[in-house]
């Protein structure tokens, strides 16, 4: 099958629309769904915000946001001050269910040491506390990639580790928020099924880059898709 939307529509004539491609029946109303390719001319936070649905969030210090001028490298979030936390979200417009939603995204970190990256769903994009959160975590306090989740304020939040070591390579991640658990798949393999510390409130897409030293640290994201199930 041709791996482009035009080709899909040609090959699968039963799917004359994207609506049909992503819904099993015309008798059901499609749920919230978006996808982002992170490709374009954005050279700053303001131009990125103008060309996309995302907003930037300088949780601590001011980050740098821009498309990467390289093949297959997507969008860059750069934090250059020790303790800086730089994020993108939906300006706290929360359209995704904590118990029936999916996020699929491709993400990499450009460095490993003293560098934390998180991406997935989060209630509040203006802080880095993980209440009502379900994010994949690559953080320097853990050896492996993990699933960091938390319920509402005042309840525990924590990371569950996978058996995949932290690195600086691109990975494909899938977070599935279900009614009984949250699943994290890394590169197509389910690595974590978590039944505790799960979010309660509605959430938004969220990507956070954080540096723990004065050296600049960068997270790149190339694709983000989210939908309710």
């Amino acid at each position: 099958m041709e791996n482009n939307i035009h080709g899909v529509l040609q090959y699968i004539m039963a799917f004359p629309s994207v609506y049909d491609m992503t819904n099993e029946s015309m008798t059901t109303v499609k749920k919230q769904h978006f996808w982002e390719y992170f490709s374009g001319s954005a050279t700053s936070a303001s131009t990125f915000e103008a060309q996309s649905r995302w907003t930037t969030s300088n949780i601590t210090h001011t980050g740098t946001y821009a498309m990467v001028d390289e093949a297959d490298e997507g969008f860059s979030i750069l934090s250059s001050t020790s303790g800086a936390r730089s994020a993108i979200g939906f300006n706290n417009i929360r359209q995704f269910s904590p118990t029936a939603s999916v996020a699929i995204f491709d993400l990499r970190r450009m460095t490993d040491a003293s560098h934390d990256s998180y991406a997935g769903f989060k209630f509040d994009d203006t802080n880095s506390t993980f209440y009502d959160t379900a994010v994949v975590s690559q953080a320097s306090y853990a050896t492996n990639i993990g699933l960091y989740t938390g319920a509402s304020t005042g309840t525990p939040s924590n990371q569950t580790d996978s058996n995949v070591a932290r690195d600086t390579a691109w990975h494909n991640y899938k977070i599935e928020n279900g009614s009984a658990n949250i699943k994290l798949s890394i590169d197509g393999v389910v690595k974590i099924i978590k039944t505790s510390e799960r979010p309660i409130k509605k959430m938004q897409p969220f990507v956070l880059n954080s540096t723990n030293t004065s050296a600049s640290k960068e997270t790149r994201i190339k694709y983000f898709e989210a939908y309710n199930t």
């Binding site: 791996n3 482009n4 992503t22 374009g40 001319s41 060309q51 590169d187 694709y223 898709e225």
Partner: protein, 212 residues
């Protein structure tokens, strides 16, 4: 059946390559995603004269130009890409190129692979450059050419390390193995008023570009 666009476009669990899809539908051409790298006196207009997509409309000034690009954010590999789009011109004396190139800030890209229509060429061509001069290659399939026309058509450019092909309306017409670009590129849509200045336009209703 999957609810995910991602899973329908990529092998499950693999990291996708760069992609962009434009439907050119809305209240205005997205000049935040696209920038006019150089040129003036030509305006991208949605729904021009009640037509579909975005039209690039010259204003009657001599040498009116619009170069839509990604501000030289070059995320596409000329040796492994695909560019699918549509074209319909409304005046024969208009130069049109659409594809990928390494610069939107000058009249000429050092590296590019673009479909050429209009008075730039004598028949529809695949125009490429590998750091030298533009090389127009015309269809030889069936021993003929693909004539210029004002009929709407879709085209599909596919780049590999050894060749670039150009397909019109589903029929492969040009396969090119020389003057292949090697520098990373961005999507480009170029418009130039030629001949007697006038209000002229061409439109596109879709553009998809991705690395393979």
């Amino acid at each position: 059946m999957t609810d995910s666009i991602y899973d329908q476009l990529n092998a499950y669990g693999t990291v996708a390559k760069q992609r962009v899809v434009e439907n050119f539908s809305g209240s205005a051409f997205d000049t935040d995603r696209w920038e006019n790298g150089f040129g003036a006196n030509c305006t991208p207009t949605m729904g021009y004269n009640g037509t579909e997509g975005v039209s690039f409309v010259t204003n009657g000034t001599s040498n009116a130009i619009y170069m839509a690009g990604f501000d030289n954010k070059c995320q596409y590999n000329p040796q492994g890409f695909r560019y699918i789009s549509t074209c319909k011109k409304n005046n024969d004396d208009l130069g049109i190129r659409s594809g990928i190139g390494d610069t939107d800030s000058a009249a000429a890209s050092g590296h590019l692979a673009m479909m050429s229509e209009g008075s730039f060429v004598s028949s529809r061509a695949l125009t490429t450059n590998n750091g030298g001069s533009y090389v127009d290659t015309f269809a030889t399939t069936g021993g003929g050419t693909v004539p210029l026309s004002q009929t709407e058509f879709m085209f599909d450019i596919v780049g590999t390390p050894s060749s670039i092909t150009l397909t019109f309306d589903g029929a492969l017409q040009i396969t090119k193995t020389t003057a292949l670009p090697t520098s990373k590129c961005q999507p480009l849509m170029y418009t130039q008023d030629r001949g007697t200045p006038a209000v002229k336009s061409w439109r596109t209703i879709y553009m998809e570009c991705y690395n393979t």
